[in-house]
Symmetry: C2
Subunit: 350 residues, 2 copies
């Protein structure tokens, strides 16, 4: 069996691991019968769970990991834990045994381990965290969500390239549009990094896909398919949007419990409200991808449930099966100095 | 009559000026019978509107302004328009004829003119744009919303001080809590500016009000009353929240129109849904304040209606009547190097 279609899973990461991991694996194994899983975790705890989940057991190989990375552990300490389930899962990708890894564990540790063990893709300066969210015009992808607090214009351009490939690979869009997040007030359209990045993108082979600057409200409006920004702003924007959705969900729950008439109203509108709730369900958007490394790395939310973890696995499987990294390599080749490929003056004369 | 309780109004700023400005003034004049207004605008257009709005006419003095700042005009060009309604309104504050100014016009021009004409308050390095939004635990104030794309830790500390006074003055809170916006992932809790600002705040007289770092989702959760951040992040966060609310509003409209049962359900739940809609109404949060200048400067959304403009005027009136700037001066005195006020060693010995 080739490495294609093999995913390494950190069975011990997340608030309710390994239970929700194995329950999520059961769902993913049914959805993707062609994929095999390498499971890393405490054998004594994971084996009994596998016994109760026949599809997960049939699709996976369990390897014992003597340790697990605690949620509060600093990345520097996690780097020293050579036998952690997270470390061994990433090692399996580095060794070519798997093409991607999924973990719901410690985010900082996962980013640090993945960067050090897998290394960045040739041509990429810094990996970025990418995630999907809902908009009025379908799903969008945003990056960076927090892998890089500070970014320069080169980083932003690379994020745009990786985001474009992400939108084609995962969102299935042929011609995804790309926007650079900026502020609106006239005087300020002036963050130097974003202006520089915009100039580079306008002169690049992906210029036809580059929409230009977008503002915060354009994210949910779906003005573009790919929202590019630095890790500080992206992290805040993502969580602000999530927090606002949660506020409205909580308020609607109160509204529909506030009177007998409102309760009856809820019952009548329920099918349509349920469709809306499912569409906005945060589990559907679970899974942030660390893009730009030699291997697919997906971080599931630590507090998710089996369905949410299965969504994070879907994401990793999509990326592995659609050759995400190979496509980035192609795109980088296309982006690389057009001059180098242009005929030299002498050739033109001749 | 003293300058206290006099507001200068740019009658020509905004998409539907001067009509909505005068209609908004009519509402504000009824709400605040003690306040007088100095109106600046095209006499030929404004006078007939005043004739139709008796309360607005009775409470205000109209002064002719031969020009208006167009929405697309660059701040540098607006600075040269000496006779614009915006400029004359700001000049009135500088001359002590009014204590604050409200405009729905060109944001960049308003910021530039206000900074140059009014100058920053003694002890403040940079003014900031502050605005109010809804959270699960009542309204919050966030700043900066875009006056400063780049900020250092000193700016953030000053924003915290001004935001605290804003929350006491405008939100009526006795002990507002203050949070510094930061990112969550462990590895990154590391923007240097915010870490430095946090250290300064922890050692300051407002330390008891300082909650520490907050993340994007804390904004709508109402974890703190004052959210402090740089102008780039604040602008994106504000607009992301607004955009998300708009998305949900639009989707709910679709939901309740999607079937006969859903329509009936809407009718039954309507009173409670209307209360929610009113509470989240963006007009209720209209008005961003440029704090830190010698005078109160309120920017209304350009696309708002009369009710929204009246809300922006409410904000300015609150700040003027509650001596916003005097309170900032007091707070800055309290913040200023405790050493300077501490008894000298010799005095202690004696």
């Amino acid at each position: 069996m080739s490495a294609s279609g093999v995913l390494a899973i950190d069975a011990m990461g997340g608030d309710r691991a390994p239970e929700i991991v194995i329950a999520g694996l059961e769902i993913a194994a049914e959805r993707h019968p062609q994929v095999r899983f390498l499971l890393f975790g405490d054998e004594a705890r994971v084996a009994p769970l596998l016994a109760a989940h026949p599809r997960a057991r049939a699709a996976s190989t369990l390897r014992h990991a003597p340790e697990a990375v605690p949620n509060e552990m600093k990345p520097t300490a996690a780097l020293r834990l050579r036998g952690s389930s997270m470390r061994l899962a990433i090692d399996a990708v580095a060794a070519g045994e798997a093409e991607g890894v999924v973990s719901a564990g410690n985010t900082g540790a996962l980013m640090a381990l993945a960067k050090i063990v897998l290394k960045t893709l040739a041509g990429i300066d810094r990996p970025a965290m990418a995630g999907i969210g809902p908009s009025a015009r379908g799903d969008f992808v945003m990056l960076d969500l927090g892998a890089n607090v500070q970014c320069d214009s080169r980083n932003l351009v690379e994020f745009a390239v990786m985001g474009e490939v992400f939108a084609r690979t995962v969102l299935g869009l042929n011609q995804p549009s790309i926007g650079l997040l900026n502020v609106g007030a006239e005087e300020l359209k002036g963050d130097e990094r974003v202006r520089e990045a915009a100039e580079v993108l306008k002169a690049s082979p992906i210029a036809p896909l580059f929409h230009g600057f977008v503002e915060g409200h354009d994210i949910a409006a779906g003005t573009v398919d790919v929202v590019v920004t630095d890790g500080f702003t992206g992290n805040v924007a993502l969580k602000t949007g999530e927090g606002t959705l949660k506020l409205v969900r909580d308020l609607l729950r109160e509204v529909f419990a506030s009177s007998l008439a409102a309760k009856l109203g809820y019952v009548l509108a329920r099918p349509a409200l349920e469709r809306l709730r499912e569409w906005l369900d945060p589990r559907r958007y679970n899974g942030a991808v660390l893009v730009g490394l030699n291997g697919v790395v997906v971080k599931s939310h630590g507090g998710t449930d089996a369905l949410g973890f299965a969504h994070a696995m879907d994401l990793a499987i999509d990326m592995v099966l659609h050759r995400f990294n190979a496509r980035i390599r192609d795109e980088l080749t296309r982006m690389r100095p057009a001059e180098a490929q242009a005929p030299a003056p002498s050739a033109m004369a001749g």
